[in-house]
Symmetry: C2
Subunit: 204 residues, 2 copies
Amino acid sequence: MPYHHGNLRKALLDAAVALIGEVGPRAFTLREVARRAGVSHNAPYRHFASKDDLLLAVAAEGFDRLAAVMREAMAPGRSSREQLELCGCGYVDFALRWPQHLVVMFDLPAVVRERCDASPRVGENAFQVLLDCITAAQQSGDLPTGDPQPLAWTAWSLVHGIAKLATGGNLPLTAEATLAFTRTAAQALLGGLGRTAPETAQTL
Amino acid sequence: MPYHHGNLRKALLDAAVALIGEVGPRAFTLREVARRAGVSHNAPYRHFASKDDLLLAVAAEGFDRLAAVMREAMAPGRSSREQLELCGCGYVDFALRWPQHLVVMFDLPAVVRERCDASPRVGENAFQVLLDCITAAQQSGDLPTGDPQPLAWTAWSLVHGIAKLATGGNLPLTAEATLAFTRTAAQALLGGLGRTAPETAQTL
DNA sequence: CGAGAATGTTGACATGAGCAACTTTTCACG
DNA sequence: CGTGAAAAGTTGCTCATGTCAACATTCTCG
């Protein structure tokens, strides 16, 4: 399969992630990525249609990793409630380990994302993991019955907020402290959610 | 006070916000802002040291508005718990009304923010509003006693997550539905938080 | 009125995105 | 094998942008 470079596509993705980590996604430059990969300034166009397309690829990679991390975080044999907490911790753990991915995944302007055919569904995988967690918790009685979507949005909002604030440097906590904090916050939210009447949960 | 243009600084800020709303903060261009304000491509440099400096100014404007919106949202005479819920709704309401500001406020790379002397404290005002709410709720017994900071981070995370997801188009809800959702989610979180033992809250 | 500061303009330079044309490598297929 | 087409990479261009420098205009105040 390889040829000239070996496999440039992967190298470009990695270089892009590293560069974004150093200078941010705004100062990020296609040419610098090419430089770091040791190729000419136009080589990336053989693998990505445009700068935005590269970013989209980084985002897709991120969503895959996110789903994987969340799945791994859910130790089997625990109660559905603990699973849910761990799932949330996985989300934050992912954010702390690959903050550049998180930025690209969620901070790309809508304009860019809409231009991509495959992307509308790119985050579905990760969201499905959460949804499955929620429905499991509903079945075990830890969460009120009814449409799981609003419950999922609530849980997602909490961990997403933690992830964004933490990676943005707005929470003065170490990585471990952030995870512990996530766990406690998730417990609190689940405590509140669990006591919600089903019909109230529906208005969510 | 005015002279040539009237007051260009404000015009530039407004044009910048509008432009960010149209093309996103990445495609946003100083020259286009100048064009829209009807001045030459270098006029902005009489008011902002650089492109990033303009963005920083937009962010500062946003933090001011955010604090104002949150304060207005807290109808007096309500219980401290309701105040807290309304404060959170204010946060989301701000995000829905000025999504461009939110983006600039929190998505600016750390590199940029560090370069600004005045900015380290620019968001303190808004955070203080939240902190005051929290301590009031603690005093009325709606929240466990102890350091209010972790409680504030938790609440902030939830509303920040909702705000980011909603403005990013990840929550398929109308603006009103988003606000109603915020209210319910805040109630759930407060319900869980209120039942937390003080010592547990401290581990937050 | 007149000097100096505040605003704004024109011109230039370096860099980046993306297009076109060209070269080299790899691979499928006779 | 060998050969031709596709894949991968390169060089060189055009245009737009951020920012600096030098110049022009307008306002303020003594």
